[in-house]
């Protein structure tokens, strides 16, 4: 019962953010972590099942040395990869999978794309800062957020606007 509740909470919010100290709270947190790992492996809910982590790893390995683009690009650092990995882990379960990319300044990127005028692009920096820009038809959204392991609400709301469930 507790495990089902924890999984349900994860699907709806993406993370369990409370940090209780009682035995029951620690048990719920542990079960939530286990449940989340299992759901991440499923094709329907998780990014592992959708192959996004594999794509991230492949691009990281490919761009670990400078000038990977022939124009003098910066290498993707281990720190950038770690932050990008955590970003994927923090996406609410069931979120549509983004495509992974890389930029000349060494940032890794995630893109949710419907059309040229309806998309969200998020860059992850070595410092764990998220830079994002979205086109939503006639409106635009953009921002900069320090990432501490929890998904910024604005990014989640843009993804839901692009791909309503």
């Amino acid at each position: 019962m507790i495990r089902e509740m924890a999984a349900s909470l994860l699907i709806s919010t993406g993370t369990v953010s409370s940090r209780g100290v009682s035995d029951a709270a620690l048990y719920v947190e542990a079960m939530a972590g286990e449940g989340r790992r299992r759901l991440q492996e499923s094709y329907s809910f998780g990014m592992i099942g959708k192959g996004v982590f594999d794509e991230l790893c492949r691009i990281f390995e490919d761009c670990r040395t400078p000038n990977w683009d022939g124009y003098g690009a910066e290498a993707v650092s281990d720190e950038t990869y770690r932050w990008a990995y955590r970003f994927l882990e923090a996406l609410p379960l069931g979120t549509r999978a983004p495509s992974v990319g890389v930029e000349a300044d060494g940032h890794l990127t995630f893109e949710w794309y419907r059309s040229r005028s309806s998309l969200l692009s998020v860059s992850v920096s070595p410092e764990g800062v998220l830079y994002y820009a979205a086109l939503l038809g006639s409106s635009k959204r953009s921002g900069t957020e320090a990432f501490f392991g929890e998904m910024p609400a604005d990014i989640v709301s843009i993804i839901h606007r692009l791909f309503p469930s």
Binding site: D69, D105, E111
Partner: protein
Amino acid sequence: MTAAVGKLPVTEDEWLARYILRRDHVRPDGTVKPDPFIPYKRVELSVTRHIDLEEADIWKIGQTVANKRASLLHGRADARVAVFLGQRLRVAAAPLIDDPNHANVLGWPPDKQRQKEIAVEIVKEVHYKEKPAATP
């Protein structure tokens, strides 16, 4: 392709090419992501002017760029100079020994968020061309 091209002023109706060396910079529908249009930290973006070049020459320069990286040339993203000017950027000829048509897109804000805002607008106007099979 002559060195004199580098002395010609860049005009707003000229076409520019940004070579694409990564498959993941192109979406499944054949459009280009904003990623290859993010400038480096020195805040400039390398492009090649089409002016005075045959189609085969444009691809040949792209192949040279790819060879330097020992990478595959997947295609090129073409855009008119006007697209960059429309984002309050400017384009300056910057001829290289092996690419007299080389130019830089300048005037990018140093702020990454602004760079992304500009890049998503630019790629709305970009035309992607896949490298032809017979590229030298």
